[in-house]
């Protein structure tokens, strides 16, 4: 009860040993045109145009970067419709009718290893930028920005921790395509000039460690290690991963690059491999459909742009006993609960979870301190909650509410079932 409890039961046994289904041929795909990071876009194709797989059909404009929009199937452009994306906001999507031919665009050609071997940093950065690779762990941050740093990088850390319960998409990715990850890592190391590569996994995932160790033997000319991390939540938070994997503490407010570290999610790493080797943008990704209100939980390798409604149909739909369900895009601790299932799979969609909705009975706070003991950034959620209740911005600043990473652990551990994270989030907004 009154204790530091960071262990979150992970429920991964539901899906982690299931084989990955391939569901790559939906009739229509919906490519999102704007995202939370890029509000504006231009669409260069018009209705009826024929596009090929991997063809650029437009461009998103972000604050300091632009991003090409790729078609993930070959087919004909239809209309622009509104859908919900993985961050829960309504975005405009272009609908493309699949012709099931998978005709690749002329640009999509493999690079020979000898060419890749001699590529400079700038060339690799250019490919990553041009192919629109973003952080696939959920952040959606453009990867080339990190890779293009002028700081001295000594270590590249591949984050394969996947600390969110219920998710097994990264798990399946490592089991299915370990070689892609290692190749991706070598490309990143080549580009950044890092001497060391570290792949961070939880030490409880022994099957993955076996697979990775087998692969290390094949890449013995590179200095690649496996870091076995403790089974805690939120161990997959970048800073926590760095701290335990390589023993470097990154203070809140500074970038990992300042400390000579480059961190990538494992799926980002695999997509960098595909971009550099096959010249492919992100067209497919691993995704988990899980939760207690879906009939047939499973892992699926889907095409980007597939409608989530179809994926749930593929999983035999919602279970009938549920009269109230929650549909969550992302993990159960940090994911977004969407208002309907009209959602499209974007590159950053890691999972779709469907839960029976349980209304927890809130009791008065007994100041047990569990949230304070458990907080990964050492702030005091209960004091922040009280400061929010009395509108005390001065206290909020002193309590450093802005440090919060919204991992959700304070609400998870709460003895009184109070939604503490919500209050802290409010406090964070109040002090900007």
């Amino acid at each position: 009860m009154i204790t530091r409890s960071r262990k979150v039961s992970d429920y991964k046994q539901l899906t982690k040993e299931l084989p990955t289904l391939r569901y790559v041929d939906p009739e229509y795909v919906y490519i999102n045109l704007n995202t939370a990071r890029c509000k504006e876009y231009t669409l260069n194709a018009k209705k009826g145009d024929r596009v090929k797989l991997g063809e650029i059909i437009g461009e998103r404009k972000g604050l300091f970067f632009t991003q090409p929009i790729y078609s993930t199937v070959s087919g004909h452009i239809e209309d622009v419709v509104e859908k919900i994306d993985s961050t829960g906001i309504t975005v405009e999507c272009v609908r493309i009718k699949n012709d099931f031919k998978d005709t690749y665009h002329e640009d999509i050609t493999d690079r020979p290893d000898s060419v890749i071997h001699n590529m400079s940093k700038e060339e690799i950065v250019e490919i990553v930028k041009e192919k629109g690779i973003v952080g696939l762990g959920g952040s959606g941050f453009p990867s080339y920005v990190k890779l293009d740093t002028d700081k001295d990088i000594h270590t590249v850390v591949i984050n394969a921790v996947e600390c969110e319960p219920y998710l097994s998409s990264d798990y399946r990715l490592i089991k299915d395509q370990p070689e892609d990850i290692f190749r991706g890592l070598t490309y990143i190391m080549q580009a950044s000039g890092a001497k060391r590569g570290v792949i961070a996994v939880k030490k409880t995932k022994t099957e993955l460690i076996e697979v990775l160790e087998r692969e290390i033997a094949r890449f013995n000319e590179w200095n690649i290690q496996i870091a076995k991390l403790d089974d805690y939540y939120p161990q997959g938070w970048e800073n926590a991963t760095f701290e335990q994997a390589i023993g470097v503490k990154v203070p809140v407010g500074t970038l990992p690059m300042d400390k000579g570290i480059l961190g990538y999610n494992v799926s980002t790493c695999a997509s960098i491999y595909e971009a550099v080797k096959h010249n492919l943008p992100i067209t497919k990704r691993h995704l988990t459909v899980n939760g207690d209100a879906v009939k047939f939980p499973q892992n699926i390798r889907v095409r980007v742009g597939t409608s989530v409604r179809e994926l749930i149909k593929l999983s035999d739909g919602y279970s009938e006993e549920a009269d109230k369900i929650e549909v969550i895009i992302g993990g159960p601790m940090m994911g977004v609960s969407v208002e309907n299932d009209d959602v499209v799979v974007t590159p950053t969609t890691t999972s779709v979870l469907v839960f029976h909705s349980v209304d927890h009975k809130e009791e008065p706070c007994v100041r047990c301190g569990s949230c304070v003991f458990s907080c990964p950034v050492d702030i005091q959620p209960v004091s922040i909650m009280n400061a929010v209740k009395r509108d005390d911005t001065v206290s909020l600043k002193e309590l450093e509410a802005n440090k919060c990473i919204e991992c959700g652990l304070c609400a998870y551990v709460c003895t009184s079932k109070i939604h503490v994270t919500d209050y802290v989030r409010k406090g964070k907004q109040q002090i900007g």
Partner: protein, 419 residues
């Protein structure tokens, strides 16, 4: 089927709830209750029953009344506000007219006065009607359940048992009830009920007994809660000279069998059993009792060394006067202690020092409940946003170490020159 949206996180820790935590404390108190009944017979049982019942009844009646008031307030509309607004505006215009003394302002005031006199009687009439409706049978009638009552989560029951166990067996039953009612009302209910209280209700009620009825009966018997002279009251009269353990023996002081004292405080053994149960169930913060007991031990041990006393001295301080009881059941009430781990350690250290200082230099032979109330007052200061940190920093450890050394020095100097 319906899709609902909620904010993350969507998972909650299983098996964590307030009821379990409070129920655990009640369960941990059971051996003590049985021991008290075994030692003191029906008299002990009566005191315990009365203290629990009095507290539960107080809370029930209080929430019946407050819920009723709430229902009445809900029934009222904004008529009261409208009347207030009208009056305020009239006052405003009048002041303006008096200050400016222009025709324009006088005209404005007079036109407003007309509408005011028109509206006011009507509003007052509606208000009367509304009041009548609100106090109709439905809102005032008795309802068995009230929403804030905390009996379902054992909070008030736990307070009642703890309070009962701190009482001496000779106390008149009327005083048990009066102190329970006043204690719960003043320490918990008027602050807003569970989770809002600053003072530990049990400690508050116990102190109320000492301060309100102390003069009615002999002081010692009440404060230390003993029929005969306890080890502590003997020590209080003659602080350093007498080897009081010779009267009782260590085993009696540890097990509490045949020892004079209040109902539940004598048996350190059973208190420890309850403490171990709570620690295994993680229903309290184990750092509080450990720090508290360690502080008292270190201080009394240092006095033993400087005064050349035997080991009986720290042993008496540890085993008598409800120190174990207070440390394990009263000082760990999470509502009235700081929220951070360093804060809790400072808090428990403060408890230890104050307890020891009251025992040595104060007029009272006993200091546990007073120390708890005094430190309860410092909780907001310990939790002050600027100072409270979730983890110990090197600087905090250094300052704390200096404070510990200073406390030991001051106590020993005081013992040397003061007693």
């Amino acid at each position: 089927m319906e899709i609902v949206t909620k904010n993350a996180p969507h998972l909650r820790r299983p098996n964590a709830n307030v009821t379990r935590m409070m129920r655990d404390v009640s369960i941990a108190l059971l051996p003590l209750v049985l021991f008290a009944i075994y030692q003191h017979g029906v008299g002990g049982l009566l005191i315990l029953l009365l203290s629990v019942l009095a507290m539960v009844a107080t809370e029930y009646v209080y929430y019946q009344i407050s819920d009723c008031i709430e229902r009445l307030n809900e029934a009222k509309t904004d008529t009261v506000q409208q009347i207030r607004d009208l009056r305020a505006e009239r006052k405003n215009l009048k002041r303006e007219w008096k200050n400016e003394k222009t025709d324009q302002s006088r005209e404005a005031y007079e036109t407003f006065l007309k509408t005011y006199e028109e509206k006011m009687p009507r509003l007052k009439e509606t208000l009367k009607q509304e009041k009548k409706e609100a106090s109709s049978k439905d809102n005032l009638s008795f309802r068995l359940n009230n929403k804030s009552f905390t009996i379902y989560n054992f909070s008030v029951v736990t307070s009642g048992i703890i309070y009962g166990l701190t009482l001496p067996d000779t106390i008149p039953l009327s005083m048990v009830v009066i102190a329970a009612v006043v204690g719960l009302l003043l320490s918990k209910l008027i602050f807003g009920g569970m989770g809002q209280n600053i003072f530990n209700p049990a400690a508050f009620a116990r102190v109320f007994v000492v301060l309100a009825f102390g003069a009615a009966l002999s002081y010692d018997a009440f404060v230390d809660g003993a029929a005969g002279a306890t080890a502590l009251s003997a020590l209080s009269e003659n602080p350093l000279a007498d080897n009081v353990t010779e009267h009782y023996g260590y085993w009696a002081m540890f097990s509490g069998i045949g020892l004079p004292g209040s109902l539940g405080e004598t048996s350190a053994l059973l208190i420890l059993v309850g403490g171990i149960y709570l620690a295994l169930r993680k229903s309290f913060d184990i750092f509080v009792p450990i720090t508290y007991l360690a502080t008292v031990f270190v201080l009394s041990y240092s006095v033993m060394l400087t005064q050349g006393l035997g080991f009986w001295y720290p042993a008496v301080h540890m085993l008598s006067g409800g120190l174990f009881f207070g440390a394990i059941y009263m000082a760990t009430d999470p509502i009235t202690i700081p929220v951070t781990r360093p804060g809790r350690i400072y808090f428990a250290f403060g408890l230890g020092v104050i307890t020891f200082v009251i025992r040595l230099f104060g007029n009272l032979p006993e200091g546990v409940v007073f120390a708890i109330l005094i430190m309860n007052m410092f909780v907001p200061a310990i939790d002050y946003p600027k100072w409270a940190k979730s983890r110990f920093s090197l600087r905090a450890i250094l300052i704390f170490a200096i404070v510990v050394v200073a406390a030991i020095l001051i106590t020993n100097l005081g013992v040397h020159y003061g007693l």
